[in-house]
């Protein structure tokens, strides 16, 4: 079921300090991390194209840099996903829950939506 809120409810929340903090915590983590993993991935692709001598260097047995670099992309993906979920649970969810619960409660008593 869709709950219709008065638009002013959203503008009021958006202007509030708590929401600004939630927005800052989300963006300041997600945006730089996105740039970081994209750069890390592109470095891998560019080296696969233009630095094959380096990528072919054998490290131990038949395991070369290319394979280790590739597996490291898996490792970094798993780690970033895990770190994001930790960050979201600790820093984002509590504020989001509070803001939502607050607005829904005000609706019940008829202060928010008219």
């Amino acid at each position: 079921m869709t709950v219709q809120h008065d638009p002013s409810v959203y503008e009021r929340i958006q202007a509030g300090e708590q929401f600004q903090e939630l927005r800052r915590r989300y963006r300041s983590w997600a945006f730089p991390m996105t740039i970081a993993f994209l750069v890390w991935y592109l470095l891998y692709v560019v080296l696969s194209g233009f630095a094959r001598g380096f990528m072919g260097t054998k490290l131990f047995g038949n395991i070369n840099v290319a394979l280790v670099f590739g597996v490291l992309q898996f490792v970094s993906t798993f780690l970033i996903a895990w770190a994001y979920s930790r960050h979201a649970e600790a820093k984002l969810d509590p504020i989001a829950d509070e803001l939502r619960a607050g607005a829904e409660k005000r609706d019940e008593v008829g202060e928010g939506a008219k």
């Binding site: 959203y10 503008e11 929340i13 394979l67 993906t77 939502r100």
Partner: protein, 536 residues
Amino acid sequence: MSHEALSTILFLIFVAVTLAITFWASRNTRSASDFYAGGRSFSGLQNGLAIGGDYMSAASFLGIAGIIALSGYDGFLYSIGFLVAWLVALLLVAELMRNSGKYTMADVLAFRMSPRPVRTAAGVSTIVVSIFYLLAQMVGAGALVGLLLGVHSEAGKIWTIIAVGLLMIIYVVFGGMKGTTWVQIVKAVMLMVGAALVTLLVLGKFGFNLSGLLGDAAAQSGKGDAFLNAGLKYGTEAQGTWGKIDLISLGLALVLGTAGLPHVLIRFYTVPTARDARKSVMWGIGIIGVFYLLTLVLGFGAAALVGSKTIAEADKAGNTAAPLLAQKVGQDIFGDVGGTILLAVIAAVAFATILAVVAGLTLASSSSFAHDLYAHVFKRGGATERQEVVVARIAAFVIGAIAITLSIFAQSLNVAFLVSLAFAVAASGNLPAILYSLFWKRFNTAGAVSAIYGGLISAVVLVVFSPVVSGAPTAMFPDADFHLIPLSNPGIFSIPIGFLCGYLGTVLSKEYNASKYAEIEVRSLTGLGAEKATSH
């Protein structure tokens, strides 16, 4: 019993089980929310498995194992792009989309815009991307059955395409999102178990010594150490700098395309909250990541144990590498009967894989047709939910029929490039529109429409004049030559064009709605006013 007969029996069991699920789901599919979003009542783990089921196509299972078996390391490059892409979905899209949308990608894009032009553009893009993807999968299915069941007649391939098409139509028309999701879950479990089993047997044969496995693979391939490094298939030294730029272009489309694929995006609506959407992507990343590590072993294992030469003789693209490997290790360890059983199991898993993926694509495109084009563009928002679902079911039937017909005509053409084209269009048109919608206050109708059409048209036009369509022996039309650009993958140009069109369209138009932006921003981050799960 022959492996063909056993494969057929196993596959028929899969079809029977999934049809039973579909009819159960159809009895529980009443509202539009049930049909489009499975009532939003799947758990994070269930949806995570379904994400894996939707995403791990035959192209990634048989295709990547085949590329690794024939060209070595290059297949791994594909897997990495496909996996890292999920971080874009996790960090920037999944939760915000779950909170602000309802049934389709266009719900988010049209949130604060003029609905008709934006929904038209998003609907067109959804259907185009899904049909490209669908064609590649269905033509692949026809060829695969030929290889795995020994059916080599033209009629046999056509009947296979028709059978796959009819099954996917039944799943979607009767089961809606609920039925389709369960098909994906069953398939994901089968695929993971099958791939893990063969991987363990292969590693066991090498005493769990990966270096030994790689050494044998390199020796058997006849290419030596080059087999363990990039460059035998994509961006070869012979292709020079353009070839390498092409490789980077492919990498960009893979990593940015996933979070713009409509059939992936609508999965986020099937869970009750944004937190569950996050959990489902976490599960999805785990499942997909492990799966691609398994295909790495399968590919090199096939090169080492079956040999690149035998694999290339069976199929030029190497698509039968994984099934042949299953047969070989089964034979070596358990004798002829073991080989037959393992081959049959992997062949049946491959069919299940194709069916699940085409069902997801058909659902995404018919949902968008009904919810975006019919309900909001033709009826200007005046359709009832009941009418929408009826139209969605008819659309699934019609889109399925169109896909069957096109696939039959395309079956002699090389259409494998359509998968990477679908990723390129998603990255160039859909992703800019989604990111701007969620994060850019100033974004407006003209910007959304320009981003989608700019990205879509530039990607398609660049590919039409590329060597994958004409001017090369492996092209779709090998006898014609009207290619103008040396790149097979348009992403490196079309992705910036899509973002730029979205920017220019926005700043050249005066439209701007601060209160709607407040609504989508608060809603996407807090879940206030987000669609709730329906309970039965």
